[in-house]
């Protein structure tokens, strides 16, 4: 019953979404507020409805309804309850339901806002969110239905179908196949939903952009209205990406965090266009410039959100992330083509109404506008490189009939220059001023923060560092940090002097009064912290693999690891654990023990769990190599020394804080809304 119910509700919601889009369009053109209001109500209903359907599916996942093909394929009796819930997005069909659920939540939330003043946007925001929702619901209903049940026909064959074939009985396997063990990790609880939240939330600013184009109100109103939505979307997307890296680093045991796998790149691409969008909208608000660029960027972001979902869902790539082959590829392709074509036509139609209020020609190349534009170009360059390299193998196969593949080397070589450029710009742009900065004013501003940067370079050179990439990178990083601290210090001092406040209060109020700017600086600090981690692992990683007897030692980067003991024991859930204990020494002093292990599940699937000793300076990352003949006489280990990698994760925490500062409502806004 529950399966039919869940499916039925999805069909009703699909019809409702279509109605909503139609009613909103009709209401807009016939100037009938009743139709628009009806469309709005319909959208608001989609969230409670899909919730019913999703909760039904979660209930069936939890209670082991193995007669459902989806439940059978992603859960098993031995899985803990929290993983059964996460199995909602562990397989293809469920993850599309989850996507739709989030989409309906955002669509409902955005239509719940007051809409007194910007009511002409409402119908088109409804249209965009409802059409996007309808597309994903159509995928679920017609192609990837998680409510399909298993039926046994008279001839004994088992068929997955929504409705009973003639004469068939419902078939319930005694246990499911279970979620792949590598996905049975707490990281699985947060990584996909965060990424999806980021993806889905970017639909909202896009919907307002389309509304602005259709209604012809192409001033910066749509940007001001969606500023916080965009920041929240960007925050979730970034957290999702970082969690994926963290999970890969802690679990997958290859000592790295980012493999430039096409599916990873697909998730990065919306970030690569969303991030410059966050920056250039500020120029439009302040100076009335870059109106067309902003439209283009948010359209691309939306396109990349759908494209990214498509790449992970369609199985066109062989990747650790991709689900099995599926028929939904052409559907995605069609939808992306349709939405991008419609967007571009609208943009061309309104092109002439979006002239810049200040001519770029009147702007100095050393102005903040120019640096923001340059940053957008650098992001664009990285984006184009990623886009091309993801697409290249597919094109090559069509053109030359030869399959090709692009590895991490290509991405690193092609994007390194632009990442470095972005680092430099994070330092220079905040020092510049609007419009009339000249070479003289900027060099006057640069020299103070440049001193610590040069100092860092000298110290590194004296300390014996000769790697050019690391030297340039770390110098730029020191520069960005110096600039951010300088900006904080300068603003705080000025405030403390004029308002006669003490330093700490001045700092707090300064950031509080100008949250976006100072939140931005905090995010820049976070980004350079992450860059420190990237340089550490990319440039200075060391690795060794050796087979030891008890009491033998491995030397790596000044550390000594002594192999103490080996344990083999069963776990209550049936896993067979093999665990080695090593003591870490540096300069003769013991620094503690490390216990790498691997678990073998009853079905033979092994899972290697590295042991990591993590400090601010470096990580010691030890893998006990999974081998059936491991004994105290012969135990193979692989050890990585990853300098500075912890700054990746520290940076990501700082950056969440910075985003919260930037997204927090300004006091004046709150007061204004109270008087409204």
């Amino acid at each position: 019953m529950l399966a039919q119910f869940g499916f039925g509700v999805l069909v009703v919601t699909f019809a409702l979404a279509l109605f909503s889009a139609g009613a909103a369009i009709f209401g807009y053109f016939s100037k009938s507020d009743r139709w628009v209001e009806s469309a709005r109500r319909a959208v608001q209903l989609t969230f409670p409805l899909i919730s019913l359907s999703a909760l039904a599916l979660i209930y069936m996942l939890l209670s082991g309804h193995f007669d459902l093909e989806y439940v059978y394929s992603v859960t098993s009796r031995d899985m803990p309850a929290y993983l059964k819930v996460t199995a909602l997005w562990g397989g293809q069909a469920g993850s599309l339901v989850f996507w739709s659920w989030l989409m309906s939540a955002f669509a409902t939330a955005v239509t719940l806002r007051k809409w007194d003043r910007d009511r002409e946007f409402l119908p088109w925001v409804v249209v965009v969110t409802a059409v996007t929702l309808a597309f994903f619901l159509a995928l679920v209903i017609f192609f990837e239905n998680p409510f399909v049940r298993l039926w046994q026909t008279i001839s004994g064959e088992v068929l997955p179908q929504m409705f009973a074939p003639a004469g068939a009985r419902l078939f319930t396997p005694s246990d499911g196949r279970g979620l792949n063990e590598l996905l049975r990790h707490p990281g699985m609880v947060f990584h996909p939903p965060m990424l999806y939240l980021g993806f889905v939330a970017f639909v909202i600013p896009y919907a307002f952009a389309i509304a602005a184009l259709v209604t012809g109100r192409t001033d910066d109103r749509w940007i001001r209205l969606t500023r916080r939505w965009t920041l929240v979307a960007w925050l979730f997307l970034s957290i999702g990406l970082v969690l994926g890296m963290w999970w890969a680093y802690r679990v997958l045991g290859w000592g790295g965090y980012w493999a430039w796998d096409p599916v990873e790149v697909a998730a990065l691409m919306p970030w690569l266009v969303g991030t410059p969008f966050l920056h250039t909208v500020m120029i439009q608000e302040k100076r009335g410039m870059f109106k067309r660029l902003n439209m283009l960027l948010i359209m691309l972001t939306y396109g990349m959100v759908i494209y990214g979902t498509f790449l992970t869902r369609s199985g066109v790539f062989s990747s650790v992330h991709a689900f099995a082959q599926s028929a939904i590829g052409p559907m995605f392709f069609g939808f992306i083509g349709f939405s991008m074509a419609a967007s571009v036509i609208l943009l061309i139609y309104r092109w002439n109404t979006m002239k810049s209020e200040v001519s770029l020609g009147d702007t100095s190349v050393f102005s903040r506008e120019a640096f923001f534009l340059l940053a957008a170009l650098f992001f664009g360059a990285i984006f184009i490189i990623c886009f091309w390299n993801v697409l290249f193998p597919l094109i090559s196969e069509i053109v030359t009939n030869q399959k090709m593949s692009i590895g991490p080397v290509v991405y690193k070589r092609e994007t390194a220059l632009f990442w470095g450029g972005l680092l430099a710009l994070m330092g220079i742009a905040p020092l510049s001023s609007w419009t009339w900065a000249s070479f003289k004013t900027i060099s006057r501003a640069i020299w103070k923060p440049a001193i610590p940067a040069v100092l860092v370079t000298v110290i590194l050179l004296v300390a014996g560092m000769r790697n050019v990439i690391a030297l340039i990178g770390l110098t730029l990083i020191a520069f960005v940090i110096a600039v951010a601290l300088y900006e904080f210090g300068r603003g705080t001092l000025a405030r403390a002097r004029t308002k006669k406040e003490n330093f700490l209060i001045a700092l707090w109020r300064l950031a509080g009064r100008n949250r976006r700017r100072y939140g931005g600086y905090i995010i820049h600090l976070a980004m350079v912290a992450m860059a420190v981690g990237v340089i550490g692992i990319e440039v200075f990683q060391q690795q060794t693999q050796q087979t030891l007897k008890i009491n033998q030692e491995i030397q790596i980067s000044g550390y000594t690891l002594r192999y103490d003991s080996l344990y083999k024991f069963p776990y209550p859930d049936g896993r067979q654990v093999t665990l080695a204990e090593l003591t870490v020494y540096k300069d003769g002093k013991s620094l503690g023990k490390l216990s790498p292990r691997y678990d073998v599940y009853p079905d033979g699937q092994p899972m290697t769990i590295p042991a990591i000793r993590s400090t601010l300076a470096d990580d010691l990352y030890v893998v006990l190599v999974n081998w059936e003949n491991v004994s105290e006489q012969q135990t193979p280990f692989k050890v990585y020394h990853n300098p500075l990698v912890n700054w990746m994760w520290i940076g990501s925490v700082i950056f969440v804080l910075g985003s919260l500062v930037a997204a927090w409502p300004e006091k004046t806004e709150l007061e204004m809304s109270r008087y409204k």
Binding site: S73, S359, F366, S405, I406, G407
Partner: protein
Amino acid sequence: MQPSSNNGFRGRAKFIIGGFLILAAVGYLIFSSTKANAEYFMTVDELLAKNASMVGRSLRISGAVIGSSIQFNPESQNLTFDIANVPGDNATIEAQGGLSKVLHEAVVDPARNHLAIIYAGPKPDLMRDEAQAIITGHLSADGFFYADELLLKCPTKYEQAVPSQVSGN
């Protein structure tokens, strides 16, 4: 710099030139680097057919892991295993009954072409009989394929459409 009224092309020229320079850099990087560093993605059959001309080149190959051939040498820490040819084309795989069936048949069929892989590193968790291996590395003149990177997928385990114990095979 004093504000001057340069609304036309001359004022904007500096930005347009800058933009073109970046575009040119991207174009140059893409054309010089992507094509030179892209790896051929081949099946075992394709590789063996072109054998000599492919020796030493960076390649990516896919095949079905033959479980009984997996061996780990604790002294050298080398992992060796054989893969059997499977079609590289997704449509062909679908037409032959899906990936898990294709992989199974590739492993049990003794007539298939095999390729021996040597990988200096630990056995990945997903390395098992009838897994799909995607291997980056190069073919050596001694006939072994030296892998730099292994990527494995286990369709038999994950997302199989119909319970196999009752599907009649």
